[in-house]
Symmetry: C2
Subunit: 238 residues, 2 copies
DNA sequence: CGACCAGGCTTCGTTCAACGATCCGACACG
DNA sequence: CGTGTCGGATCGTTGAACGAAGCCTGGTCG
């Protein structure tokens, strides 16, 4: 790509820039929201905790209004819940929420897999495989939180096979919500370890282009996971 | 249900109230967001229009901060877009956006149909049929905007077959975005009329429990609709 | 004559201080 | 023991203010 045809080059560059939005990182509210989201998904802010406005806007050195804007965004993502005149709290998904999330996932994930038409998008398939390997590596080091992360990356990669930005965003929301549930369930090893090989199996099917089989396997996989989560969530209900 | 056993009745009432959250309608920001959203989907605020903060907060008799909170919510819904230091605008989805939305819909809608397991939820099926009839009635009166509305209700009802709140919410977002592109396309009759009978056919298949056929029909339906939208959107690109 | 640069004006982003409304907890009362 | 009342604390909303960034205008220069 030399400067053989400057006009065409400029045109191409313009298009590229118009699609890949310039990294306008700013907006304090957005950065605050990112920070809070990270605290929540990392488990430093546990479900049910109250987030007082005054305390947090002092701690993060931002105005109360800006903080509230960040709160609104996270409420829209279902990571926080707002109760009238009481404050915002880290969401505590109940069994009904888990059921709804999995009903959604059982629709989206197998369909996304089935829809990755004959491995048209090689990069997306590579991301599935990468997530599997990430999980294996974490397991070998006994890093069970890492395994849990890899598991989430795996499912995000599955949805990525459909190649839709909006579907990816929706999946990120669902996964963030699941993470809240995991934090209520305690140790991650018992739950996530068994899925290492199932992930591998699904990835292999996808790579071989046996998408229908892969989709069925994913559906079964999700039904199993939901059952185990509900089981581990129902008894220890205070 | 007499007062034969007041304690049991009270207990039942308590459970009902605990599940069905009290209707906390308020929050000015939310009401402002609702009002703006309505203006946009009704087509009174056309794509590309700028929404100056000062003008709107005066018109709606709310503070600028409150208005901004409403804006943030609508930006998250992709109904508005925010440009740094320039203001918020009604979104103008391009062909890339339409393609992405349809990629998402082609995954979700057929899968939701396939997933409504053997008409377990009779009410959801009834809503599909109701949307078909709504469209037919509107067409008979020459109300083509009504036909467009009914069409959206039809697709929302299809996703409703899956029975997931979160999926329904996601679908509402996608449909709102589609409405924006419809407003760019002008007259609705040419576009929506042909789908009246296809909707009917899909509803009939669903009612008869032939979900697999219905899903395939929906997939084909969506591919066709996307092609027609792209065709009608590409040429008149100023 | 057209291009470029500087200035002013407008609007957005963010903060601050304040007021009512509402909820929570404690205390007193029957 | 249950009920009602009274602060105290927090949220919801407002209005005004300041800096920063964009747009428009007008003038200058090649």
């Amino acid at each position: 790509m030399t400067a053989a045809d400057p006009d065409r080059a400029a045109q191409a560059a313009l298009e590229a820039l118009s699609t890949a939005h310039v990294a306008q990182t700013s907006s304090t509210a957005e950065r605050v929201a990112d920070a809070l989201r990270e605290q929540v998904v990392e488990g430093r802010l546990l479900p049910g905790v109250r987030l007082g406005e005054q305390a947090f806007c002092e701690a993060m050195r931002v105005s109360r209004n800006t903080l509230r804007e960040a709160f609104s965004q996270l409420v829209a993502e279902r990571i926080l819940v707002r109760e009238q005149h009481r404050g915002v709290f880290v969401a505590t998904p109940g069994v009904a929420d888990v059921a709804d999330v999995y009903r959604s996932r059982r629709v989206v994930e197998p369909a996304a897999v089935r829809h990755g038409e004959l491995g048209r998008d090689q990069a997306a398939i590579a991301r599935v495989r990468a997530a599997v390997e990430e999980g294996r590596a974490a397991a070998e080091q006994g890093d069970w939180v890492g395994v849990a992360d890899a598991n989430q990356h795996f499912h995000r990669a599955l949805v990525g096979l459909a190649g839709s930005t909006r579907l990816d965003a929706q999946m990120d929301l669902l996964l963030a919500e699941m993470r809240l549930t995991f934090h209520r369930m305690g140790t991650h090893r018992d739950f996530h370890e068994p899925y290492l090989e199932r992930n591998d199996a699904v990835a292999a099917l996808v790579e071989r282009g046996e998408l229908e089989k892969a989709a069925l396997e994913v559906a079964d996989y999700l039904a199993d996971a939901e059952a185990r989560i509900v089981a581990s969530l129902s008894p220890p209900r205070p």
